[in-house]
């Protein structure tokens, strides 16, 4: 008989017991086993919920501990962890929050921000490109080179279009007394997340900048981004020129903030 097959069956059954409090105990197990299994079930849930509380400290403060614990438990039942690191138990929690806090959509955005900052915190160490480095890399560029230019951003950096002012929410969540700020905004806004030295950070930007950043992060060329911006305006010559100016301003912003790692 294959020892790993037998052990594998036992471990599958044991894991089912840990994950599901209503699962019937295996044949031959008595009260003593039930008591022991209740400890393993408790350990499983408490360790994972505590890990999520650590990752989503501000989200928890925003919704309150009881509501957060319910949401975390729901997330863990719907998405039992599979990764070797317990930190990953919180992956995708922003989508869970979008379902559970549908009337408070800022909760999902806040959860996304905390998760993205956690990922940036331990991303690979890469020095950002400084202005002299950028100038040297682009010194011989002609028009076609600029159009074909692609950028590599710092590992872990991300952008997203948002519907709420997370900067205002984040600020009050760092204070002892939570006084809810005005966080509703008209239209869309955007957010850039990256690691500055050893500190994960974010800034709010215009929505078009967040879209452009994500497009270039995923491989679009500078020329394609310029085209996208131009297509969002009218088709006049001045709109084309404005688009180039806007794209240039974004590039300068990313360079000044230290978000660009390399020019390709």
């Amino acid at each position: 008989m294959n020892p790993s097959a037998d052990l594998g069956g036992l471990q599958q059954a044991f894991m089912a017991q840990v994950l599901d409090e209503d699962a019937p105990l295996p044949h031959g197990w008595g009260k003593r086993h039930a008591v022991g299994m209740s400890v393993y079930r408790g350990n499983y849930r408490s360790a994972l919920v505590e890990a999520m509380r650590s990752t989503y400290e501000r989200t928890e403060k925003w919704v309150g501990e009881a509501a957060f614990r319910r949401a975390a438990a729901h997330h863990l039942i719907a998405h039992p962890p599979s990764s070797w690191t317990i930190d990953d138990a919180g992956a995708g929690f922003d989508r869970t929050c979008a379902e559970l806090f549908a009337n408070d959509p800022e909760v999902a955005e806040l959860a996304w921000l905390e998760w993205t900052m956690l990922e940036a915190f331990t991303a690979p160490d890469v020095a950002p490109l400084d202005l002299p480095g950028f100038s040297a890399a682009t010194s011989g560029f002609g028009d076609e080179d600029w159009a074909d230019m692609r950028t590599t951003f710092l590992p872990g950096s991300r952008a997203r279009v948002l519907a709420h002012d997370l900067r205002a929410i984040w600020k009050v969540l760092g204070e002892e007394d939570l006084v809810r700020p005005q966080f509703e905004i008209e239209g869309d806004t955007g957010c850039l997340v990256w690691r500055e030295g050893e500190r994960a950070t974010f800034i709010m930007v215009e929505a078009d900048e967040a879209r452009a950043f994500e497009a270039m992060r995923q491989g679009s060329s500078y020329g394609e981004v310029c085209m996208t911006i131009a297509n969002e305006g009218d088709q006049s010559d001045s709109a084309q020129s404005d688009a180039a100016m806007r794209a240039g301003a974004m590039l300068g912003h990313w360079l000044n903030e230290g978000l660009i790692a390399a020019i390709d």
């Binding site: 008989m1 020892p3 790993s4 097959a5 037998d6 052990l7 594998g8 036992l10 471990q11 599958q12 044991f14 894991m15 840990v18 994950l19 031959g28 197990w29 003593r32 086993h33 008591v35 022991g36 299994m37 209740s38 400890v39 393993y40 350990n43 499983y44 360790a47 994972l48 890990a51 039992p80 962890p81 599979s82 990764s83 070797w84 690191t85 317990i86 138990a89 915190f121 331990t122 991303a123 690979p124 160490d125 890469v126 590992p155 690691r195 050893e198």
Partner: protein
């Protein structure tokens, strides 16, 4: 596989709450132990802190997710990350637990118990071999605490561990508190446990606190959230008097973390007990 030479130091677990203490000054420890998974990351502050601490102290890497007892074997990607960390830190040794944490689909992030069967022993030995070969070094395997035993059990835990050490050449991390917890929960003798182990394979000892059983919950739980209790200190003293080679001793605190000074005080107590056991052992040896 190179052998792991005995090292008789006294150390603490490096916890985030004490980062500043370890970076700022000279903490009187002979080594620190870190949870490997916390540093199996790509970059950022955790690795920088660990490297600074490593410049001051020897470091032991202690894992919680290798899943030595998994029927499906050990995840090679996990071993790759651990190997990179070990190459970067050059640790005293790499350790993990005799337990399983995952199936092919899920990871419990808890140290789940193995049935003490010969089949499970074969699987654990194959996995230890896989890990040691991948890492290119012998490992320390820690005895677990557990809250249930299996009807299928064929061996005592000390027989299981002793056979595993003999077959794989791994070393042992002896958790005194875990022996105490499991002895209380399963009704075996902690002294029988110690006497049944190949103690010359022990390279490190863990000491920790636990949550006592209650009438409502008749199980002792290994919580690492309080001071080491008198019974565990007494068992530590007996273990130290039985050991024939120097071993490293560490206070393992994972929750309700006190100020560093409190843990250093507990470590001093361990030093005093070890010194007493050493004197007593020497005296007995002379008398014999």
């Amino acid at each position: 596989m190179d052998s792991i030479p005995p090292f008789g130091g006294f150390g603490l677990g490096l916890r985030r709450q004490h980062y500043a203490d370890f970076l700022a000054g000279e903490v009187p420890v002979d080594f620190v132990e870190v949870i490997s998974e916390n540093y199996m990351v790509d970059g950022g502050k955790p690795l920088r802190v660990l490297e600074e601490v490593r410049a001051k102290h020897p470091v032991a890497l202690h894992g919680v997710s290798m899943s030595i007892g998994s029927a499906g074997g050990i995840d090679p990607a996990y071993l790759d990350r651990l190997k990179r960390l070990a190459e970067r830190i050059e640790p005293l040794w790499v350790s993990d637990h005799l337990c399983w944490t995952r199936t092919s689909a899920h990871n419990s992030h808890d140290l789940l118990p193995l049935p003490l069967t010969r089949d499970a022993l074969d699987v654990a030995c194959a996995n230890v071999d896989q890990a040691q070969n991948h890492l290119g070094r012998a490992m320390l395997i820690e005895n677990p605490s557990s809250y249930l035993t299996f009807p299928e059990d064929e061996l005592t835990e000390w027989e299981f561990i002793g056979e595993m050490a003999r077959r794989t050449g791994c070393y042992l991390l002896l958790d005194i508190n875990n022996i105490y917890v499991s002895a209380c929960n399963h009704g075996f003798s902690a002294d029988d446990y110690l006497a049944g182990l190949p103690l010359d394979s022990v390279r490190q000892i863990h000491l920790a606190g636990h949550t006592p059983a209650t009438k409502e919950r008749p199980v002792v739980i290994d919580t690492h959230d309080r001071d080491v209790c008198d019974d565990v200190w007494a068992l530590y003293a007996r273990a130290m008097s039985m050991l024939s080679v120097p071993v490293a001793t560490m206070i393992e605190r994972d929750d309700n973390i006190p100020p560093l000074a409190d843990l250093l005080h507990e470590l001093d107590e361990a030093r005093a007990i070890a010194a007493g056991a050493s004197d007593k052992g020497a005296g007995e040896s002379i008398a014999a």
